[in-house]
Symmetry: C2
Subunit: 190 residues, 2 copies
Amino acid sequence: MSIDVKTVCLGILSLGDGSGYDLKKRFESTFGHFFQAGYGSIYPALAQLAETDLVSCCEVLEEGKPAKKIYRITESGRHELVKTLESTTPTHKIRSEFLAVLYFAELIGPAQLDRIINHRVGEMQDVLRLLDELKHDSAADQGPGPRFVRGFGETILRAALDYIETHRAELCAGHEGHEPKLQPVSRTAT
Amino acid sequence: MSIDVKTVCLGILSLGDGSGYDLKKRFESTFGHFFQAGYGSIYPALAQLAETDLVSCCEVLEEGKPAKKIYRITESGRHELVKTLESTTPTHKIRSEFLAVLYFAELIGPAQLDRIINHRVGEMQDVLRLLDELKHDSAADQGPGPRFVRGFGETILRAALDYIETHRAELCAGHEGHEPKLQPVSRTAT
DNA sequence: CCGATACATATCGAGTTGATAGGTTTCTAT
DNA sequence: ATAGAAACCTATCAACTCGATATGTATCGG
C-alpha cells in the first residue's frame, strides 16, 4: 500500500474521531500546504476504510440537524496505519502549473507575467499566515511531527518568496523594450 | 483551459519537433522537478492535439528502425499556446507522502524514520545534480524562463535539505529512549 | 426576513498515475 | 561471436484524484 488519501484519513482519525466534513477541514488547515484532498476522495476513502474494518462508523442523528457519520479508528486500523507508514518509501511531488508557465515566460506579455507572479506570491503569503496561526492556535499540531512539517512548509515558502522577489526582474529581460511576440490576446477569452 | 499535460506538450513542441518518446525525455530532464508526465498522459495528449490541429503529425519509417511519429506545432497551435498561458492563473501544488508520513513520526520506529529521511535526502541530491547538469549542458534551457525555473528548484531544494539536516534530530525527540509504540512490524509485509 | 455562510453527504466526468505489454536496435562485457 | 542489457518507440488499462456540482438544513448578520 502507498500513502494515499485513505492512509492519511486513517492517520487523522488516529488523532480523534470525526465526520467526512471534519476531515476535509483538517485537510485544509493542517495538510493543505503539502497534501490536498477533496470530498471526491475523502468519502470513498472512508467508505473503503469502513468496509475493511479499519474504522467504525456510527450515524449520529441530532434532532433538527443534518445527519452525520462519525468515524472512529479501530485497533486493526491502528496496526494497519503503523504498518503502512513504516513499509513505504514515501514520495514528494510538485506539480506546478506556475513554474510551467514561467518556463515559457518569453511568450507572455509583461503585464500578464506580473499578474501571474503577484497572484502566486499572494497565495504563498496566505499559506504562511495559515501556518503561523496553526503554530499558535491549534492544540493538535504541537507534537514533534506536526512541528517539523509546519517548519518545513514555512522554510520552503520563505525561500520561494525570497527567490521570486530577487529574480523576477530577470524574467522580463527577454522582452524588455519590445512588444509581446504575438498580438495581445483578449482578456475575456475562455 | 488550464495548464495540463496537453498544454505543456504544446509548449515543449514550440521549442522543436519530437516524438512522444522524446517528449517523455524532456519531461524527465527539464520538467521532472516540478511537473511530471508519463506515457499514459503524453500519448493521449498528443492524439488530442493532433485531432484539433494544434500539432501536425508525420510518421517516419526509417528502414530497420521502429516507426515513430514526429509531432510539430502548427500556427494555430502557437496561438492557442500563448492564449492558454496568458489566460490562466496557474496553480502550484505539493503532494508529499514524505511530509504526511513525518507528520505521524511518533508512530514510527527511529530506524524506519532514518531510512525514510535518508532516502528522501538522496532523491533531493539527485535532482540537484540533474539541475546542475542542465545548467551547463542543455542548450535548450538557457533562456530567462528556463533559468528562472531551474534556479527556483535549486533554491527550494537547498533550503529543504538544510532544514531537514538542522531539524531531523527534533523528530526523534518523541520516542527517545523508549521502544516504538507498537511491536515493530515485519519488513516483508506488503 | 433575506441572503450568505456553515454544516453535512454524495456523485460524476475528466484527467493523471504507474504498471504493463510488445517490439526493434545498439551497446557491452565475457 | 553472442548473450543480455539498455535504449528506442508506441500504446493501453485499472485505480486513483480533482473540481465542480447537486441537495439539503441551520444559523447569523444586516
